[in-house]
Symmetry: C2
Subunit: 454 residues, 2 copies
């Protein structure tokens, strides 16, 4: 079971029920209708992703695992890695007893070097994920990985140890697949990276790792189908989206997602991409400059009670704190009853750690409420593949509706193009010379304003 509790968003100085009546109600209905139309025009591919053929992927992965591979090197970045990482980190040990996963989602040269020094090419499958096939970071590392396999195994064997996940028809990686005969899976053309966790992008690495992807899909499907129609279903997502936007309009523009449950930590990273990249936009759909976007912030309880909560309690009234709560854990320990601790701590003795953890969460949440801060909770009865799947689907829907309500395109990312062009220019791509020139505007040596610290 997964529940969203928004009662902490309502009250003095926060939201009121009346807020969602009248004009706002109509806005919400219109956004739903628009969303329905886009779904019927096949623009919202992610809504269909819970129907993915998990059984086939699981069977394929089972076969590969029986062939003796022990590790997988997953090369992808952003939406091509965050989903699988998030789900895998939420798994119990026996839900990830397949290939050990190593994600190459950055380009730090020392980290890249270490990967190839520590993995065994004879036992490692390389999974390369990029929809366009032109992602600089991914293709750079993939070309290193391919050479590493070829040097150890020869070209023919290497080709059988590569899995490519990319666009079914277009793109540079697709051309390479066609020439080399690698294993391959399709990213549906109408599903963007950050909405792709329930496509082969997420499912293939997860299945190789031994994760029960069919339960994950089933959770997502249920979250979708527990409502009869897209428009009916959208009312629940629509209200949640509207609550977040109303708070942002009232100045609560930072959304802190604070997890009390270590297995949920990477889900917050996944969420941060979805929320930031979908809703952080310069222009609305009429092309007017609006510079919208709410800042997603990851926090970890109880740890950040001793780091960030002072700011959340006393700083500017600009944060909505949404908690990820877990009602039941799969392991526990009892604080020893003896010998006695000092008096100020004796009440802890004999209590399970889970009870202390829960009290810390309650204390933090209720103190924030007393301080007039808006809080909400995602309550996981347990962390299961089903509840994780439901969480993923829920946030994809909420994000899509929020985009409609904000009148922006939640599915593009025009803001990252200029940085890529400058990088290409600096690296000597023909035709990109002018961007390299623009790049030189930046400081590289000590400028007048530089200060030597050491």
């Amino acid at each position: 079971m997964l529940t969203f509790d928004s009662s902490g968003l309502y009250g003095d100085g926060l939201l009121s029920k009346e807020h969602f009546g009248g004009e706002r109600r109509e806005e919400l209905q219109e956004a739903m209708a628009d969303l329905q139309a886009r779904f019927e025009a096949d623009e919202l591919g992610f809504v269909d992703t819970p129907d993915a053929d998990g059984a086939s992927i699981a069977a394929w992965a089972e076969e590969r695992r029986s062939e003796g591979w022990t590790d997988q090197l997953v090369i992808g970045i952003g939406g091509s890695s965050l989903g699988a990482m998030a789900v895998l980190d939420s798994a119990l040990p026996d839900q990830r007893d397949g290939l050990r996963a190593h994600f190459a989602d950055n380009l730090d040269p020392e980290s890249v070097d270490r990967l190839f020094r520590t993995l065994n090419p004879e036992k490692t499958v390389v999974v390369v994920i990029t929809k366009s096939g032109t992602t600089i970071e991914t293709m750079s590392q993939f070309w290193l990985a391919r050479q590493w396999l070829v040097e150890a195994l020869g070209e023919e064997a290497a080709n059988k140890q590569i899995v490519a996940i990319t666009d079914p028809e277009s793109g540079e990686l697709r051309k390479l697949v066609d020439n080399h005969g690698w294993w391959d899976f399709d990213v549906p053309p109408n599903v963007g990276g950050r909405f792709s966790v329930l496509t082969p992008v997420g499912l293939v690495p997860l299945a190789l790792a031994g994760y029960p992807i069919q339960e994950l899909l089933e959770g997502a499907r249920s979250a979708r189908d527990n409502r009869q129609s897209l428009s009916e279903s959208a009312q629940i997502w629509g209200t949640i989206a509207a609550e977040h936007l109303a708070l942002a309009d009232a100045g609560y523009n930072e959304l802190v997602m604070m997890t009390y449950g270590d297995r949920l930590q990477s889900l917050v990273d996944w969420f941060c991409q979805l929320w930031a990249e979908s809703l952080g936009k310069a222009r609305n759909r009429q092309g007017e400059l609006v510079h919208r976007g709410m800042t997603p912030i990851k926090a970890v309880g109880v740890t950040d009670q001793h780091s960030q909560v002072q700011l959340y309690m006393e700083g500017p009234h600009n944060k909505h704190i949404t908690f990820l709560e877990v009602r039941n854990f799969e392991a526990d320990r009892i604080i020893p009853e003896s010998p006695p601790l000092p008096r100020a701590l004796q009440h802890l003795q004999g209590k399970p750690i889970s009870e202390v953890f829960a009290a810390e969460l309650r204390g933090t949440r209720d103190a924030l409420r007393q301080a007039g801060r808006p809080t909400s909770s995602w309550i996981f009865e347990r962390i299961t593949p089903g509840s994780v799947g439901a969480f993923l689907f829920a946030w994809q829907m909420i994000t899509a509706v929020a985009g409609e309500l904000m009148d922006i395109d939640a599915f593009d990312q025009p803001g990252v193009e200029m940085g890529k062009k400058i990088a290409h220019g600096l690296l000597g791509r023909p035709g990109f010379e002018e961007y390299a020139q623009q790049g030189q505007g930046g400081p590289d040596g000590p400028a007048e304003e530089s200060r030597r610290i050491l």
Copy 2:
């Protein structure tokens, strides 16, 4: 060498040199004088921390390491763990070839259980760190750890495998030390948790891990002493603090610290505590409600170019992005020259990964500048213990000066008390019953506003 480059903070719509003339200049001078007075009154203990006796701690750790311990379980939270974690993660493998460190800085029951199942009590030293000795999370886990050692080794041997770092005189943990004869080190009474990385709080776990703490201290000392006096030195820190505050006043209240260098990632977590907890305050020193505080945000390059940068480029003008740049790495790989990649990627072939990484950083930074966003850079010539020590000291000074300029107390954390009291009340501490009642205001079952997702 470590340099701070603020040239990207100046220009149209951002800061101007004139901004820091006249009245502001006087403000800065006053803040410096106040800080000098507080230092002389022994209130700024952290300024002296780079003079710690690293040699003694290193020698003690060397002895312990020769006794056959292989692992250390470091139990501490917030300022009692973030410093050592940050420095240790910045180390090269041969700078951390001592005891493997395991940090118990959260209370997730599954994670706590796993620690005690996977570590070997015969080979593991338990390092418990809490200044007050009443930190619920730390003492709960410490009591578990102590029992775990006693059950495996007997009481006498267990007592020789415990190291306590706490206040030299007061507090509950100090009393326990006196009764049991554990190894112990002092947290200087005038140094708070988040300013304590260069005291035994950070130095003892680091030394046990084999980290060259004397080089770390030397870097911090140089950053401090390269200026002749506290007031002269404070001018560099003062200007940097003033730049950050001027941007915040202009609406750039979110400070994104984006690292291009994996070894620097945990330094950002350390920074986030320092910045949030020191400067996020409800009241100024006259007791007036001000609700100040800038939001620190961690970002990782290049990864977050595919997650957060869309928002940074196009969203609200409310972010200052400060980069952690590394000029030289200790390892690298060359992208293979053959076989040929598709045309759009051929310019990458034959290039080292470090060059691609640097171009990505330049591209992102310069695109942000073109978009009118304020950026700055901390430039590490290399990541060394010295440059890391200088970075730590620099930010402690900048934070202290920022507190003076904001007229708030940068060294307390009153906002976290209420949450602790409610937690104590819920856990049955005598005298705290009323707080438990307050706690019950929060929702625990499905309320009217709760929505079942799955």
